[in-house]
């Protein structure tokens, strides 16, 4: 285990989580950027699938702690997304910007599907509207922001320690 990579990955994930609680409310978009999910995918692709599942569960529970009725929904969704991202990364073995963007888009959309189905707060046409329109938009925005973040933070992630 390369501790340098672990520390840098933890640092990038921490920055992204802080951005989720600072930049996202500052922008105030209806389809907002999910920086926590970006942090999850960034971390998960550098972990073993099992560890990524634990990472996803912890991140999800932390995010759920601020909700009233959907505690556990984010934990479930992020567990699935974290494990899938780590597993697919191991299978595809590619470090491509477009592939990362695709992972982020699919990951965010799948997470929203699991979250809204588990939370049970929306139903019928409202749920369909949320999943097809707003979740898709949010997934696209998250993918773009994730690709930009990856491009900006690549020097940090790939820095070599002597």
């Amino acid at each position: 285990m390369n501790w340098g990579v672990v520390i840098r990955t933890a640092l990038v994930c921490a920055i992204l989580i802080v951005l989720h609680f600072t930049l996202r409310p500052l922008l105030g978009w209806r389809a907002g950027i999910d920086f926590i999910l970006i942090a999850l995918v960034f971390g998960a692709v550098r972990m073993r699938p099992g560890l990524a599942a634990i990472f996803g569960l912890l991140l999800g529970l932390a995010a759920d702690s601020l909700t009233v009725n959907s505690f556990g929904a984010s934990g479930l969704g992020m567990t699935v997304v974290g494990y899938a991202a780590s597993y697919l990364k191991a299978v595809f073995f590619a470090d491509n910007v477009a592939l990362n963007g695709f992972f982020l888009f699919i990951g965010k959309w799948v997470f929203d599907v699991i979250f809204f189905l588990m939370a049970g707060q929306l139903g019928g046409a409202e749920l369909v509207m949320q999943l097809l329109v707003w979740s898709s938009l949010s997934a696209a925005v998250t993918a773009i922001a994730g690709v930009l973040s990856l491009t900006l933070l690549r020097p940090v992630l790939e820095a070599r320690t002597t």
Binding site: P25, G60, A62, G72, Y83
Partner: protein, 380 residues
Amino acid sequence: MARTSRFSSKVDLTIFVVCLFTALVIAVVPGPAREPIAKSLRRSVMAPLVRLQRGAERWRAAWVAAERNAATRDTLALRAFSAASLEAENAQLRRLLGLGSRLEWGFVPAEAIHAAGRAEPFTLTLTAGSRAGVTVGSPVVAPEGMVGKVVTVDPTMSIAITFSHVDFRTSAMTADESAFGIVSPHLGEGSDSTRYLLEMRGVPYRSQIKPGTVVYAAGIGGVFSRGIPIGTILQEIQTPEGSWSRTYLVRPAVNPGLVSSVMIMSQRRANSGMDGVWQMTTALDSAVRGVAVAGDSIARADSAARAAAARRAVIDSAARLPRPVDTTRVDTAAAAGQRPAPAPARVVPRPAAPRPSQPVAPRDTASPAAPPLADTVRPR
């Protein structure tokens, strides 16, 4: 090696299943049971993040409030700007309504569209044409006075030249009719600042007009009726024909750049006169002068009556005195001038003065009485 990898996959899958089961259990347990976990997370890991989020949301609220304030300020500024223009337009329309009510008949209201960027800047496109009764030569007026005349008529629109057009001419006069002339545009010496002024040419040399005098259409020539205001005299200007006539610079009563609504008068209405439509200042002046003269004449009559009464009182008092031998008459006029006018004296009947006997002329006896002439023509 492959065995180790397969084992790792099984471990990862097992961990994944356990995590899934944990998340499901947490999601389905009732609220009071999961609240301690959420509370501990909120008070430990999430507390600094929530503080960050609260600060970000305050920033966001401040940003939104600033944007809203700026938008409100801009909206108010825009409304204030449009309110001023609306107020001016309202005032102009009110004046136009007043003009319409004074004209009573024979006019067509129209909007004046300024032809920006055209070769002829001193023309107006009017939104009324022959269908509304507009004819070529119809005078165009605004509440303030003369604007121009129609030169082209179409069914739904017409084109008018303003008084600044080089082809524009009209006869003019002062309100007291002491000076007449021809008003034409002031072409100047290439100066744009005075291009919209007018010139009143051909004023007889003996007629001097003071600056500030209002000039009206004289009605000579047919297009513009007598009494339509043209403008105000600014100053006399020197021209080549200055030795036998005067030329005056005139500031127009109407600013053609600001005209948006006008009245197009029919020829019949224009020929019927403008009595009472535009109040000529001379009428006001003469009325004021008339009131002043009437007041002066009353005062003069009163003072004359007082002087006559005083004179009569002096004469009467002199008559009541014992008559001296010397019959020199008193200078009553001088006495009245020296003494202040007395209070109305008690009137005493004047005694009848003895009339002096008329002297009898002596008869000339030397000249004999001539016999009457015999009429030789008429038979006796």
